[in-house]
């Protein structure tokens, strides 16, 4: 090949590359302006669900199509696992074949909002008929990124204290209450730990993933700390150090905490009766039911009477394709899907908490509480989710750095202050850019 054609090829590639990496933001204009509800449209829905829930989703899409024959909804899981959806979306943006509505983890909100391809629902959800305020505050915050509402919460949850009643009875301890302090928790964990039977008081994931990180946030908030101060990391404050020290004492000094190198083992060990207490969410109830374990649920232990928890809401993110009819139809469908009536057939049916407070009076909720003991507690605990994780771009990386810091401290390789300072220093760069 002659040098000239090589240079030409490189230039063509550069052009193509720049085109591929560019965005298509069209600010200022509402995506659904001039929407005709009777237009024939086809919209694509990536559910991000596993097999059982996917079947329910497809049934709902068919039901919607029957009621609105002009709207066809192409339903698929979008990716083999929910985690892979972000990669699929990113490839879709590059290739121009992204869906109209996709499931997304709350922690992706910042990055997705920065793509410039999401719809802005800020004024849409404020319509009284939408009932925006029926959805928990932390979930609404997560759906808002960069001052825009980019989607509607798809799932709400929170972390509470789940305990094995049999192990408590054997150790002669009284069950945890909603007023427990972290000192009570530590004492109980120490008493429950028995090396001879491989039984641990409690457990914590030290894989360094978001599962490691977000269990620390409630403790940080209870001590009055913040994750970010503006765009600067603030988790390495005295509050953060005190929060991590609480965990360190149990893991290193007392050895009452099972440290899980993956995210997969601790809840399995809890289900098989080897761990006395775990901090986990309503998703655990399905497996607990299958394991036939007798358990109880209480609010998280608190500091100075503050029992706030963390919520990990997931979202339906709505995308803009420059077609008002598609955008409008997508909004109408999402509104229907997240309405109290449909959500009872969706989230409650697949074992999740209801999205809206108004669903508490539905027969579906009564059935859910009956099937999953502790469901009521998790529902009530939504009120304790007062703060949300940041939705700024760069949170993913901050989370990883904090996760590594926690893992180091709990395995006795570093002190809370040292590890959190190092994590803050590493994260500062990712947040600014």
């Amino acid at each position: 090949m002659r040098p000239g054609s090589l240079a030409g090829g490189a230039a063509a590639l550069l052009l193509l590359t720049t085109a591929c990496m560019g965005g298509t933001a069209e600010p200022g204009k509402d995506a659904a302006a001039g929407y005709d509800p009777n237009a024939t449209v086809e919209i694509t829905w990536w559910t991000g669900q596993t097999e059982e829930a996917e079947k329910v989703a497809e049934r709902l899409a068919a039901e919607y199509h029957t009621a609105h024959p002009n709207v066809t909804i192409k339903t698929s899981t979008g990716a083999p696992t929910t985690d892979d959806l972000l990669t699929k979306l990113s490839a879709g943006f590059t290739g121009g074949t992204y869906p109209d509505i996709s499931y997304a983890y709350g922690s992706w909100a910042g990055d997705l909002s920065a793509s410039g391809k999401t719809q802005d629902l800020s004024s849409y959800v404020q319509q009284p008929s939408f009932g925006w305020t029926e959805i928990p505050e932390a979930a609404r915050q997560t759906a808002t990124s960069g001052g825009k509402v980019i989607g509607v919460p798809a799932l709400v949850d929170n972390i509470a204290l789940i305990y094995n009643t049999k192990l408590f009875d054997q150790a002669g301890l009284t069950y945890p209450t909603d007023d427990w302090s972290w000192d009570d928790f530590r004492t109980a964990a120490r008493t429950l730990t028995d090396a001879s039977t491989n039984t641990y008081g409690t457990a914590y994931s030290v894989s360094g993933s978001e599962d490691t990180t977000w269990h620390l946030w409630p403790l940080l908030w209870q001590h009055g700390g913040q994750i970010l101060d503006g765009t600067k990391p603030a988790f390495n404050s005295d509050a953060g150090v005190a929060a991590l020290e609480t965990l360190r004492q149990m893991a290193v000094d007392d050895k009452s905490m099972y440290l899980d190198q993956t995210d997969e083992r601790y809840w399995r060990l809890f289900n098989s009766g080897r761990i006395g207490m775990m901090l986990s969410g309503p998703w655990s109830l399905i497996e607990l039911k299958e394991a036939k374990l007798s358990y109880g649920v209480a609010d998280l232990p608190g500091f100075n009477g503050d029992h706030q928890t963390v919520s990990g809401p997931d979202l339906w993110v709505l995308f803009d394709h420059g077609d008002a009819n598609r955008a409008g139809a997508t909004r109408a469908f999402t509104t229907w899907l997240t309405s109290a009536e449909t959500d009872a057939k969706w989230n409650l049916a697949v074992g999740n908490l209801p999205l809206r407070s108004t669903e508490a009076s539905t027969p579906e909720f009564a059935a859910y509480v009956k099937e999953y003991p502790g469901g009521q507690k998790f529902f009530d605990n939504l009120a304790n989710a007062k703060q949300a994780r940041p939705t700024a771009p760069g949170y993913e990386e901050l989370s990883r750095n904090v996760g590594d810091a926690i893992a180091e401290v709990l395995q006795g390789k570093s002190t809370p202050k040292q590890a959190l300072d190092a994590a803050a220093k590493k994260s500062a760069d990712a947040l600014v850019n």
Binding site: L13, M21, S90, D111, V206, S207, E396, A407, E408
Partner: protein, 306 residues
Amino acid sequence: MAGLTFALPRTVPAVKVRRRFDVTGWAFVGPATLIVVGLSLFPAVWAFFISRAKWNGISPGVPVGWTNYARLAQDPDMLAAARHTLLLAALFVPASIGLGMLVAVALNQRIRLIGFYRTCIFVPYVASAAATGILASFVFNPQFGAANQVLRTLGLPTQQFLESPSQALYVICLIALWGEVGFTTVIYLAALQDIPAELVEAAKMDGASRWRVFRHITLPELRPVTVFAAVWQTITAVQLFDLIYTTTRGGPLNSTQTVVYYIYELAFQTQRLGYGAAAAYLLFAVTLLLTLGIIWYSRRRGSEVF
């Protein structure tokens, strides 16, 4: 050109130079060229442009020049990953060659059921590294695994294996060896059978011991294969990913995070595609240099394999 060994005649016959675009020739190479350009060269060049940008795959990319490369040099995680990779390669390459040669010599005998033994050695290589990894994580599970069961029966202290930051990398190396020794064994077996029997017989006639036959006949005859195996196993060690993904995911405390795994984390876990691409290019450069180094060294020693 003295170093190249092409089986082509040096003097090109004086055919008439055809300036016409040769359709038949292009028809043959066309499809393969398209595939190579489209699926290998284009992504590689694109990755280079990405490596000079800050891009998360979602929001528009921002060109940053050589910043990503400059930051790599100061990234403590990158340095740690490079250390882990080098340690892994330094352990894995000599061990897989030595073991492979040993097993090949042992299997190069006329004994009963030899075909069965050879198959047994090769089976782990055929199994996918992902399956090997999952199997190994059962065996080395500290609480319920077979490895600790054996230690307990022998009255030895039990180990944390893959859950200990100081042991995990060695355990991974061991698992990788278990899978890869089959490969070096097979190529050494083939090479052993290519050694002319007359040479060995002549040496024996002259009264050479078995060790001296091995040292002065077999080893030199195996040299080209050894160079090939060294290059191949170095690349395997440097690019080891699936085994780490299925056993430790880079943990505990990032002690098994190799360069390739770090690139995966950067690009697909934290969505820093630009920085990840820069790290990938650095790895490419280092692997290329390593390979060239091995080839240069072996040519100086008089064997030519590439």
